[in-house]
C-alpha cells in the first residue's frame, strides 16, 4: 500500500469523523471546534491534491476568520436562547436520514460510473514548477484571465461588509447618534449621558468611591444582561437600572 493512500485514509477518516462530531455535538461551541478540525483536515487534502496555496487560504480564511466570527456570535447569543438538541421533529429526522442515504447512493453511482477526464490541461506539474510554484501559477492565472471576476469579487466582499454592519446595528441607534451626537461616548457603550453618575460635573454627584464602584458594577451587569438598545439609550434615565418593561 503506497504511503499516499495511507495518508489519504488517515486524513479522510479524521475529516469525516470531525464532521460527524460537528453535527452530533450538543454544544454549539463544540460544533465550531469540530468544524475547525474538519477544515484543517481538508487543508491537508488540498495539499495532497497539489493546491498548496488553497490549503493555506483555507486555514487563514475558514479557521482563522469565519470560525472566530462564529464563536464571537455564539458568545453574543444568550445560551438560554439555544434550542435543545434532540427536539427536531421525528418526521424531519427520519426523512433526512432517508434523503441522506439516497443522496449517498446517487453520488456513489455517479462517481463509480463516470469516465475519467484524463490529463488534458495546460497546467502540468512541470509548467507549474517553471513559474515558481502553485501560488505563482495561480496568481498569474488570477490576474490575467480572471481579472474581471476578481474585481467583481472585491465588490461582493465590500457589499457583504456593509450589509453586515447595517444588519447588526441596533435598531434606531443610528438616529439616536444623529440626535445626540455630542453626548455619545466611545469609552462606554451606554454613552456619557446615560446611567453612570457623572462625578463632579454631573447632576448626581458620587460621594464615595464605594458608590462609584457599585454604579460601575451595575452598569456592567446591565450592559451584559440587556439586549434591547432602547434600554440603554433612553433620554432622561439618570440613575438606577433601566426598566426593561418600559422599553419601546
Amino acid at each position: 500500500m503506497p504511503w499516499e493512500l495511507i495518508f489519504f485514509y488517515i486524513i479522510g477518516a479524521a475529516s469525516v469523523l470531525c464532521a460527524l462530531g460537528m453535527v452530533l455535538a450538543k454544544n454549539p461551541v463544540h460544533s465550531g471546534i469540530f468544524l475547525v478540525l474538519t477544515f484543517l483536515n481538508v487543508a491537508g487534502i488540498f495539499v495532497m491534491l497539489g493546491a498548496e496555496f488553497l490549503a493555506v487560504i483555507q486555514i487563514i480564511v475558514y479557521t482563522g476568520a469565519i470560525l472566530i466570527l462564529m464563536l464571537f456570535v455564539l458568545m453574543l447569543v444568550d445560551p438560554d436562547d439555544l434550542p435543545s438538541f434532540s427536539s427536531a421533529a421525528p418526521l424531519q429526522r427520519n426523512l433526512s436520514l432517508v434523503l441522506g442515504v439516497v443522496l449517498v447512493l446517487e453520488l456513489a453511482a455517479t462517481i463509480i460510473t463516470r469516465t475519467a477526464l484524463g490529463g488534458v490541461g495546460p497546467d502540468t506539474p512541470a509548467s507549474i514548477d517553471s513559474v515558481g510554484g502553485n501560488a505563482q501559477a495561480l496568481g498569474l492565472r488570477l490576474y490575467s484571465d480572471y481579472l474581471l471576476a476578481f474585481e467583481v469579487t472585491s465588490l461582493v466582499l465590500t457589499v457583504g461588509v456593509i450589509g453586515a454592519v447595517v444588519l447588526a446595528l441596533p435598531e434606531r441607534l443610528g438616529e439616536r447618534i444623529q440626535r445626540r451626537r455630542d453626548t455619545i461616548s466611545l469609552a462606554h457603550p451606554r454613552g456619557a449621558d446615560g446611567f453612570l453618575p457623572a462625578g463632579p460635573r454631573g447632576e448626581t454627584p458620587i460621594t464615595t468611591d464605594i458608590e462609584r464602584d457599585v454604579a460601575m458594577q451595575n452598569a456592567g451587569r446591565a450592559l451584559i444582561m440587556t439586549k434591547d438598545p432602547d434600554a440603554y439609550t433612553r433620554v432622561g434615565v439618570r440613575q438606577g437600572r433601566p426598566d426593561a418593561n418600559d422599553a419601546n
Binding site: 454549539p28 466570527l69 447569543v77 436562547d81 426523512l95 441522506g100 456513489a108 502540468t124 507549474i128 457589499v159
Partner: protein, 102 residues
C-alpha cells in the same frame, strides 16, 4: 484500490457533503445550520480541486478561490442576520421563527 485516484477524493467530498446536508436538515440551532452550510461548501471545494488535479488545469483552483471569497461574504452577512434575529426575537431556533408569517 491500489492507487490513489480522483475517485477517492470525490467519495470523501460526497461524504462530507451528505454529512453537512443531514446536519442542516436535523439541527435546529441556526448557528449549527450555518456551520453545516460551510461544511457543504468545503466539500464541493474538494471536488473542484480533485477535478482540477485530474485534468491538469488550474481553473478549478481559481474557482475555489472565488467560492472562498463568496463564502466569507456570506458568513459575514449570515452571522449579522443571526445577531439581529437573536436581539429581536430572543431565539436562534429556526422552528420558532415565524415573524414573516404573522
Amino acid at each position: 484500490m491500489g492507487e490513489l485516484s480522483t475517485n477517492h477524493f470525490l467519495f470523501l467530498s460526497a461524504a462530507l457533503f451528505v454529512i453537512g446536508m443531514m446536519g442542516m436538515l436535523t439541527r435546529r440551532n441556526m448557528l449549527v445550520i450555518f456551520m453545516c452550510i460551510e461544511l457543504m461548501v468545503t466539500a464541493v471545494s474538494i471536488s473542484f480541486v480533485a477535478f482540477a488535479n485530474e485534468t491538469q488545469t488550474l481553473k478549478g483552483q481559481v474557482f475555489v478561490l472565488f467560492v472562498l471569497a463568496v463564502a466569507a461574504a456570506e458568513a459575514a452577512v449570515g452571522l449579522a442576520i443571526i445577531v439581529a434575529l437573536s436581539r429581536r426575537g430572543k431565539t436562534v431556533d429556526v422552528d420558532s421563527m415565524h415573524e414573516l408569517r404573522d
